[in-house]
């Protein structure tokens, strides 16, 4: 147990080994207009550190400059999912969404409520739920082992508190399943993707999803196609997996 906790505490320090000199080099490329070269660099960062939100953010910027709104929205969305509290990330995601006819904050929804709803990233919520689960179990075990003891009573209360927080976290997590970014993807193909009535070219095309549109991914079972849905328009169809990047 001690080893596990130690590992959890040490991992962030080790993972922050992002070469600042390298980053400066990529940002210099961006500054001088070499967006493609900068993008390649940012992609290296993402490959090395998939949980680094700034890799996605900067890649989104480079893609936006390359006039690729779809991949830009995808990268901003990934950055947002990792760090939804950051104002810069929110601003660029909102900007890119607006350029593609979408909004980050749904119309009529109070901005403060939306901010609170996304205050914690989904991964953070899941990790928090796991940590609370560990805490509730360990405290509960201590309460059983120290049965009849004052310490056992305190451990029991701690376990109950952690369990309550766990339930709240799970409820929050459940509510987040209705988020546009949950089970979602972004149309990254230039010009948009065709939505077919089935997973194959022999099916009829009856709609198209524009580039940059965030879509719900309803079925991932097929090898080559996702079943995607456009909740706002109330339509669904099958799109090539190569056209839609899963968030």
């Amino acid at each position: 147990m001690r080893t596990l906790l130690l590992a959890l505490l040490l991992v962030p320090a080790g993972a922050a080994a992002y070469d600042r000199g390298e980053l400066t080099e990529f940002n210099d490329m961006y500054r001088s207009g070499d967006y493609q070269e900068a993008l390649d660099g940012y992609r290296q960062v993402i490959a090395r550190e998939p949980s680094n939100q700034w890799g996605y953010f900067n890649a989104g910027n480079a893609l936006y400059r390359l006039n690729r709104p779809g991949p830009a929205v995808y990268n901003y969305a990934r950055a947002f999912m990792l760090d939804p509290r950051d104002g810069e990330i929110r601003a660029n995601l909102e900007f890119a969404l607006r350029q593609t006819g979408q909004t980050l904050v749904p119309e009529g929804a109070p901005a403060a409520l939306h901010y609170a709803y996304y205050f914690v990233a989904e991964a953070e919520l899941k990790a928090l739920a796991l940590l609370l689960f560990w805490l509730a179990c360990l405290a509960g075990a201590a309460a059983f082992l120290l049965d009849g003891n004052k310490l056992g009573l305190a451990a029991g209360r701690a376990s109950a508190g952690a369990a309550l927080l766990l339930l709240l976290t799970l409820a929050w997590l459940g509510a987040r399943q209705s988020s546009p970014f949950s089970s979602a993807g972004v149309v990254t193909k230039a010009g948009g993707t065709l939505m077919l009535s089935g997973p194959g070219e022999n099916f009829k095309t009856y709609a198209s999803a524009p580039e940059g549109r965030i879509v719900k991914i309803l079925d991932t079972g097929d090898e080559a196609y996702y079943e995607i849905g456009l909740p706002k328009e109330g339509i669904k169809g099958w799109a090539l997996k190569t056209d839609v990047e899963r968030l």
Partner: protein, 618 residues
């Protein structure tokens, strides 16, 4: 130079002046001719342009050489990529008062931050031409019912023998708020004047006025006396129901001391100047105060009526049929017709979820043809489509009161549609702020924020990634520990709650353990220890099974206790138990009698008895 050419030149001048980036407020002035006769009129055009939705009115200098009448204004607003440019052209009619080179000093405009001025203009005022060549504008206005009334009033003054007099008349005595009332002020003279007289317009209560230039000049025969007259007209609009007052107008004229020159001589001005103005005297003429009645509007105004009175049409249009999401488009609603357009307010714009609606700007063009205030007022809404698709702006309603029929009327614009394409990099989002004042920040567009220099490695996302990166089975460990602890706690509680049960279950194993020990003693030749071991073991066994310490009991009592606790036990087992008990007591308490063979038998008997009792004592 024609008037249109002058306007074009003025507009060109404004454009040229707008060149420097720092100069956002510009003014240009132009006149339609450089030379004007003393009895003619001159158009002065002042064009003001700026980079906000409203520009200031020019401040006209004190022109002693001219009478000035406002002849309307024309405003245009252009919005390109969120940049607002407003151009307003003010037109004035100048009536010269003196012959010779006259100067129009610089005209200034100021918006509080900047001041701009025009260059000085020079006009040559010449004597009047022969009567045969009099321009059309100098002819008297066509006779009307009102002019007949004025003539009647003038005749009264003429019969008093006045050589000069001033008369004011309105075309109606009552009107609705916002309904046009025309006032005519005529200055009659039967004697020559040293110069064109100076006119001071009247003040108004509960009325606003609009000049109706040009000044009409003409002749009239009143009571057998030939008069020359100048007529100035103005349009008045009542503000609120109740009385309205037109206070006296004033004309100041230089009148010769002696009537030496015929006023109908075409060159009477020159002759008059020739005899020197010093010989004349300054006289002031005033009109009577006129009272009007402003009637209240009838009840039953439709919803959306905001006080517009007159006769109007309304139309709506977009500046383009297509746009991209996030791009600003201009939606214009134009109210055109006759009435006081200055007071017409913008129709209420409906809530449109498909658009962001920014501030409204208005511009108006006013015409004064045939002494009627007409024109159009255009309200420009800045709309930014939120999403792509075919979007429709529903009809807008505009209500007004028609004073001729005394009924309210309601008009609707046509619905207007626009095709919105998806937004792109070029789409700009703009914010408009046309509030007056200096030093404001005006957003002209927006863009993504710059790349981050942050190295990442923020604790929370990385910690979350580390936790989620653990193999799933590691998360079963706390659950297993919890389950185990739970079981242990329950077992402990059960054990504490049922001590006899655990003693009874433990008795067999302990008995066999003792038997093994006893056998070990026998092998070592320690027979007495072996018997003692078996005796103690037997007592403990019975105590564990019965739950009572039997060593303190008699054999009979112990047997009864066992039978009571375990009714299924056989009599044979009870008998064997008694036999073993007696044998053990005998050997235990007289060990010298115990031989090796006897100890071994006792151990065997005890072993067999335990096995038998284990089957029966359940």
């Amino acid at each position: 130079m024609s008037r249109f050419a002058s306007l074009s030149a003025a507009a060109l001048a404004v454009l040229l002046w707008a060149g420097p980036a720092s100069a956002v407020l510009n003014v240009a002035a132009d006149i339609d001719r450089d030379t004007v006769e003393i009895n003619g009129n001159l158009y002065l055009t002042v064009a003001v342009s700026g980079d906000s939705a409203s520009v200031p009115e020019p401040k006209l200098p004190n022109l002693q050489s001219f009478n000035i009448y406002s002849s309307g204004r024309s405003q245009s607003i252009s919005i390109i990529n969120g940049k607002i440019t407003t151009s307003v052209t003010f037109t004035y009619i100048l009536t010269p008062r003196f012959i010779g080179q006259q100067k129009i000093p610089p005209i200034t405009v100021s918006n509080g931050r900047e001041t701009a001025a025009t260059p000085e203009l020079t006009v040559t005022v010449t004597k009047a031409r022969q009567a045969a060549g009099q321009p059309q504008q100098a002819q008297p206005a066509r006779p009307t019912r009102q002019s007949r009334g004025v003539q009647q009033a003038a005749r009264t003054a003429a019969t008093r023998g006045d050589q000069l007099f001033l008369k004011a008349e309105t075309d109606r005595k009552s009107a609705y708020p916002g309904e046009q009332i025309n006032i005519s002020i005529k200055f009659y003279t039967s004697v020559p004047l040293s110069s064109n007289p100076q006119y001071v317009p009247p003040a108004f209560t509960n009325l606003i006025s609009e000049d109706l230039p040009p000044v009409r000049n003409g002749e009239a025969d009143i009571g057998g006396v030939r008069y020359a007259y100048s007529e100035i007209k103005a349009a008045l609009f009542g503000l609120n129901p109740g009385p309205a007052v037109i206070r006296p107008a004033t004309v100041v004229a230089q009148v010769p001391a002696q009537d030496a020159i015929d006023p109908f001589d075409p060159n009477f001005f020159q002759k008059f100047m020739a005899i020197s103005g010093a010989q004349g005297q300054t006289r002031e003429f005033i009109t009577e105060t006129l009272n009007l009645e402003i009637k209240p509007l009838p009840a039953g105004a439709p919803p959306g009526f905001s006080g517009a009175v007159g006769n109007y049409t309304v139309s709506a249009a977009l500046d383009r049929p297509e746009a991209r999401a996030g791009e600003a488009v201009n939606f214009s609603v134009t109210v055109a017709g006759s009435g006081n357009l200055k007071t017409v307010v913008a129709p209420k714009f409906p809530e449109l979820p498909d658009f962001k609606v920014f501030d409204t700007m208005s511009s108006h063009d006013v015409k004064k043809d045939n002494d009627l205030i007409t024109g159009k007022k255009t309200f420009t809404y800045i709309l930014v489509p939120r999403s792509e698709g075919r979007k429709t702006i529903p009809p807008l309603k505009f209500a007004y009161f028609d004073p001729h029929t005394a009924v309210y009327k309601q008009l609707e614009t046509d619905s207007v549609s626009i095709t919105v394409q998806k937004g792109g990099q070029g789409a700009k989002t703009v914010n408009f702020n046309n509030a007056p004042g200096g030093g404001q920040v005006t957003a002209s567009g927006s863009d993504i924020r710059y790349v981050s220099d942050s190295a990442g490695g923020d604790a929370l996302p990385l910690l979350a990634a580390a936790v989620l990166g653990l193999p799933w089975w590691t998360h079963t460990a706390p659950l297993a520990l919890l389950t185990l602890s739970f079981w242990l706690a329950r077992f402990n509680r059960f054990k504490l709650a049922n001590p006899l049960l655990f003693r009874a279950r433990r008795a067999r194993s302990e008995a066999f353990h003792d038997i093994t020990t006893a056998e070990k003693f026998i092998k070592e030749g320690k027979h007495n220890e072996a018997v003692s071991e078996v005796y103690d073991s037997f007592m403990n066994y019975l105590s564990d099974k019965s739950g009572v310490k039997v060593s303190a009991l008699t054999i009979r009592k112990a047997a009864e206790l066992v039978k009571k606790r375990f009714p299924a036990v056989s009599e044979a087992s009870i008998d064997e138990m008694r036999d073993l008990w007696q044998a053990l007591e005998l050997r235990h308490f007289s060990p010298e009698a115990a031989g090796a063979e006897g100890a071994s038998d006792l151990v065997k008997k005890y072993s067999l008895l335990v096995m038998r009792l284990e089957k029966e004592l359940k």
